[in-house]
Symmetry: C2
Subunit: 270 residues, 2 copies
């Protein structure tokens, strides 16, 4: 995918400080134009998703990671606003159950990867197992390094068996998170999304940024690169992820399967 | 749910002949008005689905059954056009895998029922196990009767544990099916949905109608009634199912959970 170089995590020189959360360069001059553009992108994504499904061979996986309130839900809502529920599937990974904990950490993730023809969105992912667990020191450095390698190997298996993987880190500033959390508290129809425990994670912001920086650097590979998405602006975020996804779908050169010759002679009886 | 009496299957006097597939009484006088109404219903469904999710206690299950090309996919696409992928989940039941066949027929279905706060759509369902298998005589009458009872008991379990079940039979005429199959054959972007085996099932139309009549009659209960949806008109079908679903959601008297008092004193630190 060309044109997205500036957002790609290059392990050789990556520093999160070089990426601005409040960058808005995907936006045009007016809100109206942005809304039109987003609707157009959503329509195109839906059209290509239909062909992906019709082809029934390859798979697409969109991984969304980011701090609380970074806009993972909003991304799903807007980027896929024109896709019907038949074409896409959302897999959300919350705190693991006791059964999930009794398996290796990739077990529950592997069971949710897209099958042939599917487009699956991961709302959080196996990366939680090198982020929250690292920030809280539930795993040590050696284990974390082992996991980076295991994750890269796992993603390589997926790409070698027909999956296109797009990984997006929704990059927001600490100030923007505060504003969004405050909004959740003030708006009665949104308060249920607020979890007081999120404040404890917020207090660990610098440790999280460090863990993200380290994880993105270690797992941004040729087969599954990471993109840092400036996400303080919701519109910028939606436009960029839509464009990234559309570009990935276009690169796949999807086509409806040829109509079998014998279909031409079929007569449907009354 | 009031006003939908005419569509409910009353086991005491049910005959499919009394239901017209080409009924269009849900429609207004103009296509434009119907489109506006459908969009309005979809918006209301989305709003209530958000509260269902926020409440996080009860569950909703919409079962869609019908012959090939009766519009199950189209229903999902239109009725849920305003719902984002976060709020609903689609479970499609195709020919069972060998692992599924090694379990009882309700096993794979039970694993897909909605959890607290979820709205799940079944595209086909456990009813295939009293329909296709009965038409082909893979089960005998005695087994079929046993299954009706098992299904009623299963659905009673679901309703008694907080699930609202809405079951819709998409009723199309044999002529309409022919037209839609022909359309799939003629339109290159739709041909991939055509399966020559569907013609073999079509040839068994009278046996299917008999199996449907018998199944609907035996499993239309107080806790989980069947609705016969006139579905030759796609607009009539979409309007009716949207209205049924909306009415069911309204009857639940959903409300956002109260904001915990202690939330008012929360200060989000910089």
């Amino acid at each position: 995918m060309a044109n997205f170089e500036q957002y790609i995590v290059n392990p050789k020189k990556f520093s999160l400080n070089n990426f601005k959360a409040n960058d808005k360069s995907e936006r045009s001059k007016t809100k109206a134009d942005d809304a039109l553009e987003l609707a157009k992108l959503a329509t195109e994504i839906n059209a290509l998703q239909d062909i992906l499904n019709a082809e029934g061979k390859r798979k697409v996986l969109l991984v969304l990671q980011g701090m609380d309130a970074s806009g993972k839900d909003g991304t799903v809502r807007h980027v896929f606003s024109e896709c019907d529920p038949l074409g896409i599937r959302l897999a959300s990974f919350k705190a693991p159950s006791s059964d999930e904990l009794a398996h290796d950490y990739l077990w529950r993730v592997h069971s949710q990867v897209p099958k042939a023809g599917e487009l699956v969105i991961f709302n959080r992912s196996h990366y939680e197992d090198v982020l929250i667990v690292k920030v809280h020191d539930w795993i040590d450095d050696a284990e974390c390094q082992r996991r980076y390698k295991q994750i890269n190997d796992f993603e390589q298996l997926l790409t070698e068996t027909g999956t296109v993987i797009i990984k997006c880190f929704l990059h927001i500033s600490k100030e923007e998170q505060k504003a969004r959390m405050q909004e959740r508290l003030n708006e009665p129809t949104k308060t249920w999304k607020f979890n007081p425990d999120d404040l404890k994670e917020r207090a660990l912001w610098p440790k999280y940024m460090q863990a993200y920086e380290q994880a993105l650097k270690a797992t941004s590979t040729k087969h599954a690169p990471w993109y840092v998405i400036p996400a303080d602006s919701k519109t910028n975020r939606n436009l960029l992820i839509s464009r990234l996804l559309l570009s990935a779908l276009k690169s796949m050169k999807l086509a409806y399967p040829p109509v079998p010759a014998e279909y031409k002679t079929i007569v449907i009886e009354d």
